[in-house]
């Protein structure tokens, strides 16, 4: 480690021996694998919490858990899924794919990359430790609104410091991605030749660097309000609890786009390959992504329509929010147009992508409904919002993470996954996810509030159906684990080509590399890169 004299210049660039390899590694593929494995584990941890929630809601009345624990479950489910599962999964994909897609040997700042991963683990461990504390795990919702959250027991400072660690981790990861994309591209890889996954991650990284410090600042004020006598969120001292909501959602709205923009990027990689056509409207995709990212900073208070804002605020945030439908519509249109008259085949990654386009559109439309301030007074804090954001997160982000897994596993391992099982996994997921979340729209419209362990009997039927969907969706994800494991261990036995998917070389650089890809990707920059923009320039 400290042997850094010039004659040791070229020593041991291969992996270290044994388990230590994973601790001290600076290799983008190792770190990407760590991220992906960790996020998959957290997906099941958070999923178990979701199943506890759905068990309790299977019938009206109190069944299994006490209300305090139920609230901990909703809070921790959200925190674990957002910060432990979805975000790290995309960072893992970024680690694996960005250097391969831009013709680089590794990330720009590999040691910081390692630290970024371990900070994530540390943050999640600190968060998980709160389960064993006096007063239980945080139960005031993942948004941690004061004054309620200030009533948390011993868990509060741990949850806050956990957010700090996760923030440091994300900022370091994002800085690394920005530096990699700006500084490590092959000379031939101009910005407008970058694959969409790289573009969406670049823009996501800008969001992360801008918002994670904001969240850190907000929770720091929670900490001082609780332990150091400050009055930021206390009206008696001249402060305002609504201020926290403004700061939180200034972070929180871009944060949800952090989880969706890379999703768009993955879809934009997969759909052209299986439609056997170039991506329709490459440059409009880039600009739409940038537009969505920009708008995400100026719409935050649509999460707070019922908080008592002045009318001008309500109207501004309503119209600004509706604007987002335009660039998002451009994207949906482009994916559809890419498939139009394509020579399509329906392997698992493509199936997930098509489901994503359809179901995400639905999640987008319910978002539009809630953007309308007068209507939101009805929907606010009901199961309608729960249905909305789960449609944008599960059949969108989670589906596309798994699609990315199927799409790139052959490149990573050199082995083919079991297509039959993957299709089974897809159909079980696609059907059950709708059984799970679609009825929640009806519950919300009928007025069932979110974050409650019990409900009026009129909501019983749809809740039961929703829970049944959950108990199909959850266990069927184990198929994915089995497929991944089997693929790593040799898969179907069929060795894949470098290209893996027919014609994939024309879409992105990673398919020009051997399968599995070498430990260090490009030791010298590639001379030629695919042209993605179809416009003549």
């Amino acid at each position: 480690m400290s042997a850094v004299t010039a004659e040791h210049d070229h020593h041991d660039h291969g992996p270290a021996k044994g388990l230590l390899r994973w601790v001290v590694t600076t290799n983008h593929k190792d770190i990407g694998t760590l991220y992906l494995v960790f996020s998959l584990a957290m997906f099941f941890v958070g999923g178990t919490m979701a199943l506890i929630i759905r068990s309790e809601l299977f019938e009206p009345g109190m069944q299994f858990v006490n209300p305090q624990f139920f609230n901990s479950m909703t809070t921790m489910h959200a925190l674990v899924m957002v910060f432990g599962a979805v975000m790290p999964a995309f960072v893992g994909l970024a680690n694996w794919m960005i250097p391969m897609m831009i013709g680089a040997p590794d990330m720009a700042l590999p040691r910081m990359n390692n630290m970024s991963f371990w900070m994530l683990v540390a943050g999640i461990l600190l968060l998980a430790s709160t389960f064993f504390m006096e007063g239980g795990a945080p139960a005031a919702g993942w948004t941690m609104y004061p004054p309620l959250v200030l009533q948390t027991g011993n868990a509060l400072p741990f949850a806050i410091f956990s957010v700090h660690l996760l923030g440091i981790s994300s900022i370091m990861g994002a800085i690394n991605i920005i530096a990699t994309i700006f500084n490590m591209r092959a000379p031939a890889m101009s910005l407008m030749k970058m694959p969409l996954f790289v573009w969406t991650w670049l823009i996501t990284a800008f969001l992360l660097v801008a918002i994670m410090p904001v969240f850190a600042g907000a929770v720091t004020m929670l900490l001082t309000d609780r332990f150091f006598d400050t009055s930021f969120f206390d009206a008696a001292g001249g402060g305002d609890p609504v201020l926290y909501q403004h700061i939180f959602w200034f972070f929180g709205h871009p944060e949800v786009y952090v989880m969706i923009l890379p999703t768009f990027g993955v879809a934009s990689q997969i759909i052209p390959v299986f439609a056997r056509k170039p991506l329709f409207g490459y440059s409009s995709m880039v600009f739409a992504t940038a537009a969505i990212a920009f708008l995400s900073f100026i719409v935050w208070a649509h999460h707070m329509f019922t908080v008592g804002m002045p009318m001008a605020g309500e109207l501004y945030f309503m119209y600004a929010t509706m604007l987002i439908a335009i660039p998002t519509g451009v994207k949906i249109f482009n994916w559809t147009a890419t498939m139009w008259k394509g020579a399509m085949t329906f392997e698992a990654p493509m199936l997930f992508s098509i489901a994503f386009v359809v179901l995400f559109t639905m999640g987008g439309f319910t978002g539009l409904m809630m953007a309308l301030a007068p209507l939101d007074f009805q929907y606010h804090d009901t199961y309608f919002i729960v249905a909305h954001f789960h449609y944008t997160l599960v059949p969108a982000s989670v589906f596309m993470i798994m699609a990315a897994g199927y799409f790139w596993l052959p490149k990573w391992t050199g082995n083919m996954y079991d297509e039959k099982l993957a299709k089974l996994h897809f159909w079980l997921s696609a059907i059950s996810v709708n059984i799970l979340f679609f009825p929640q729209h009806f519950l919300g419209l009928a007025g069932m509030p979110r974050r409650i362990p019990d409900y009026a009997v009129q909501f019983a039927d749809w809740n039961m159906i929703s829970s049944i969907g959950a108990f199909i969706y959850g266990p069927s994800q184990l198929i994915f684990v089995y497929i991944v494991y089997k693929t790593i261990k040799g898969g179907t036995g069929e060795k894949v080509t470098d290209e893996v998917w027919e014609g994939a070389k024309e879409h992105s650089l990673e398919w020009t590399l051997p399968s599995p890809a070498p430990y260090h990707t490009f030791s010298t920059p590639p001379k030629e890169v695919p042209t993605l923009s179809t416009s003549r320039s």
């Binding site: 920005i178 600042g217 009206a235 700061i247």
Partner: protein, 288 residues
């Protein structure tokens, strides 16, 4: 495989993991301390010690690698980008507290005093007689009577100190570029001295606030915003001054050339950032 080509790949390192461990011990200790377990304080110290050892070891490793000529031009650019975006994230962190100050002065305090109230006069019912004035410790008179911190005593002196330190820092940089070692080292000594003087005067200011003016972190929203903004800034001045001290030490050891001195540049950027934040503080916290 050989990497004897255009790209630089660093060796594996144990320090990222050690640093993470240190930070976790520090945070877990602090949280325990806040929950009333005295032992948490010791864990804080332990974590801090581990973290400092990590920083020293990691930066020594980097400095040695740099002096051994392992870094090419591209690595330097990556480091500069990293520093730039790190400073950007710091700007966003301060933006939260400036935003809080703005919101409090322009929205929450006026609202509590009844600005914009409809016919029902809800604020009069809750907080009768509360006036929209600044500074305030709120309708609850939280923390008791206090005096406002004036701008033209120590704070103005501190402004002059910090602005001069920006000048001496740039002067040192010119010395480095002109291979004038004497100017480099003198400039850095001046900068670091001015920086620590600033922190010293701020400590006196805080002492007076607490012991003579009744102004504390608990003095309602004025005390909260005042100490949060100036406190975090003071912390950043300390960090910047320590960074520049390390750069001074390395300059004294003969590191840095006009072409290769990222450490100097990074620390200097950080120092100017801290400088600019102070100007914002002086205007919005002290003067207005």
């Amino acid at each position: 495989m050989s990497t004897n080509d255009a790209y630089y790949i660093p060796n594996k390192a144990v320090w990222p993991v050690v640093g993470t461990g240190g930070l976790v011990i520090l945070f877990a200790g602090f949280a325990n301390y806040l929950n009333g377990n005295a032992i948490g304080g010791w864990f804080m110290l332990l974590g801090l010690a581990v973290f400092i050892v990590m920083l020293a070891a990691w930066f020594t490793m980097q400095a040695n690698e740099s002096e051994a000529g392992q870094y090419n031009h591209g690595v330097g650019i990556s480091y500069r980008m990293g520093m730039m975006w790190f400073i950007y994230s710091e700007i966003m962190f301060f933006a939260v507290f400036f935003g809080t100050l703005w919101y409090t002065r322009n929205l929450s305090v006026p609202w509590l005093a009844g600005v914009g109230d409809g016919p029902g006069r809800s604020s009069a019912m809750l907080w009768e007689g509360f006036k929209d004035v600044w500074p305030t410790n709120g309708p609850g008179n939280v923390g008791g009577e206090f005096e406002e911190m004036g701008a033209f005593g120590l704070p103005f002196l501190n402004t002059l100190l910090l602005l001069s330190s920006g000048v001496t820092c740039t002067w040192a940089h010119h010395g480095l570029l002109a291979k004038n070692r004497d100017q480099l080292i003198k400039g850095l000594i001046a900068t670091v001295t001015l920086g620590f003087l600033f922190v010293g005067f701020q400590a006196i200011e805080y002492y007076e606030a607490y012991h003579e003016m009744g102004l504390t972190l608990g003095s309602g929203v004025y005390g909260s915003t005042f100490f949060m903004l100036t406190g975090f800034h003071g912390f950043h001045v300390c960090v910047g001054a320590i960074m520049l001290s390390v750069v001074l030490f390395r300059s004294w050891k003969g590191h840095f050339t006009p072409e290769n001195h990222f450490a100097f540049e990074g620390a200097a950027w950080y120092w100017h950032f801290v400088d600019v934040v102070w100007l914002g503080l002086f205007i919005f916290v002290y003067i207005l």
